[in-house]
Symmetry: C2
Subunit: 392 residues, 2 copies
């Protein structure tokens, strides 16, 4: 599997985090790329999110570079806008590209002033160390409480040739993206027009990042960016859209799943599937409510086939459905049939629930054809320990 052509990557430690662990990164396209972004729907938005939006608008969806820092969200800070602009300008200068084609993103603590000098001083060195094989190193530099980097790659053979896609993302708390998650960067060497790219990203995010929750909190900094630089020489036209989208959605789902799997304190990746609602939106609402139920998530953590909590959470989703025609499955075993306890081998199921991947399926029998899939993780003491002492 090769990375998309025409991108280079660099990362270094700029002193933003207290611990000496890389915290600054660049992703750069050698040539001009189209770019689309989806961002947090939180009313409180970090300065880099605002500048990203403005730059994408000003450039008409063209970008050359993504500037990323971890360790500080540059949100709710007095100097936020200035810091985002100053550091983007420094990156533009070091890379010799227009400032509107630099997209700044930040993740970390909220409400602490970010010293721009740490970034501007590091940028010349960072720019000179860009390399085509820095992808994996950058995927580590953007981590906060993540325990491992999260990447995914794909190759798509479309009519005129092969294009490549590569993505990286980070978790792992304050995660319930609405339109996007914390940070995600996807690069392709396909040539795709900016409006096309926007619609593709929106669609892919809806089926991946927007179906993900670690703790039900939507961050102030969520940004998912997709760049297409055309370095493959292959254009994705209307006829190729389906093939390309399949790969893009799959890749984004892989990234989203990795975030759930590595949720703060998580031991298990939980996939929730809901079928039989009147619409896909209703299915997603039920799946989301189950995914955000602390009682469901702690039960799964304890390998307890407590389907009552699943049915109860479904009932809280604000969706009209009949519990009397509703089945619940865990690990493929029907634990609830028509709203009542089903016959199943409980010790065998508990054994299965000890696995690192757990599936929950809610099936409503009737005329409805709505369905949705959603990813989350179990809820453990680890989450409490991480978040009871994150900042102080």
């Amino acid at each position: 599997m090769t990375l998309p052509f025409g991108y280079r990557y660099a990362s270094s430690y700029a002193g933003i985090r207290k611990v000496e662990k890389e915290d600054l990164a660049l992703i750069v396209s050698d040539g001009s790329a189209t770019c689309a972004g989806v961002f947090t729907q939180n009313r409180v938005q970090a300065a880099p999110v605002r500048l990203c939006r403005a730059n994408l608008k000003e450039s008409g969806g063209i970008a050359r570079a993504i500037l990323i820092n971890a360790g500080n969200a540059n949100c709710a800070t007095r100097t936020g806008d200035r810091v985002a602009l100053t550091t983007s300008r420094a990156a533009a200068k070091a890379l010799k590209v227009p400032v509107s084609q630099v997209l700044p993103t930040s993740t970390g603590v909220i409400g602490v002033e970010l010293n721009p000098k740490l970034i501007t001083n590091a940028l010349p060195g960072l720019a000179s160390s860009l390399s085509a094989d820095g992808f994996e190193k950058v995927s580590r530099a953007i981590m906060t409480t993540d325990t491992r980097p999260k990447t995914s790659t794909a190759e798509v053979a479309i009519g005129k040739g092969v294009v490549r896609i590569a993505g990286m993302t980070k978790g792992s708390g304050m995660i319930m993206p609405m339109m996007a998650t914390t940070l995600g960067f996807v690069m392709t060497d396909a040539a795709i027009s900016a409006p096309q790219l926007r619609s593709m990203l929106r669609e892919a995010a809806e089926e991946s990042y927007n179906r993900l929750s670690v703790d039900g909190d939507t961050s102030t900094n969520d940004s998912l960016l997709l760049m297409a630089n055309g370095a493959s020489g292959v254009t994705v036209g209307p006829r190729d859209r389906g093939l390309f989208m399949d790969a893009l959605v799959h890749l984004c789902q892989e990234l989203a799943r990795e975030i759930a799997r590595d949720g703060e304190g998580a031991r298990k990746l939980v996939t929730i599937q809901v079928n039989g609602t009147r619409s896909g939106d209703e299915a997603a609402r039920i799946a989301r409510t189950i995914a955000n139920s602390p009682l469901v998530k702690t039960a799964i953590g304890g390998s307890d086939p407590n389907w009552g909590r699943i049915l109860c959470a479904a009932g809280n989703a604000g969706v009209i459905f009949d519990p009397n025609v509703t089945d619940v499955y865990m690990q493929g075993v029907r634990v609830c049939r028509n709203g009542l306890a089903a016959n199943y081998n409980e010790p065998a199921l508990i054994e299965k629930l000890n696995e690192s991947e757990v599936s929950v399926r809610v099936v409503i029998h009737g005329d409805g054809t709505g369905e949705a899939r959603f990813w989350t993780c179990d809820f453990t003491e680890g989450y409490i320990q991480i978040n009871g002492s994150y900042r102080t």
Copy 2:
């Protein structure tokens, strides 16, 4: 403080729980009482909730007895409706009252068949042991994971004399009541018409139980019942409504606060106050979102004045407000001013956050006059431990 006149109470161990701890209780009015109830808004509703509603409708808001069992929610069970009816009938027979004037309520595990014989066999003995001073004993019998009973009493002097109110309630997980909470029983010896009583209970619940969340999960069994038997000989008329409501709201808020304080694993009672939204409903939505944020609740558990998480949660409430004119206070200390870090003494504040009651206040400066108060608790390892192994 004396209990309301004209009520008797009894409790015993009927074998519904595995551990030998009282699990069956009766609250009986000596004479006919008006009665109002508010119930869960979950789509999945337990059989006793359905029968309670039906009985109140059939009797026109008249009741003589409340039958309560802990240890089994009688929800999502094959025999649910039959068990609720059979046990209510047995209570009616033992008490010699019409069956529509018996209100059954259950709390405990979902999806496990409840053996009605355990209850019907115990009822004659229970009925013969009714006593005016069994109030406190019943408040213990209805507990599930509660660590202590939750009661509150009041005396109200209105024009024509004194009336008494007494309430008991239970927590302490699956708690985010919508219209009512898990179980709450409030008795008064005032005489109040059934329609009046309904409107009073709705109003009181809105300001108390509906402003409470332990874990964001609304139970299938939430029931709050208010009985008024007139044994004081004092009627609450339109002119006395204000005085009586003040006492009733206060009493219900005390019960709600006790539930929050004793939330599963909780070490701290958290009161969230929001001011300055366009409406009270918007303020309540922001307060609720903060109260349900695991990140806010774990930070408070860790005595971390992490106001960024509070502001972020407020931004997720789906309410339009300007973070740039928003202040956040913790323990009365302004930690965020106009959306930015305020100057405050952090070590001193951390000390204050170690107390057993924590206040969070969000003030949006502008024209809005909406306000709301909400109660929750901190989020600790204890919650995970309790819920990772509740059933198995």
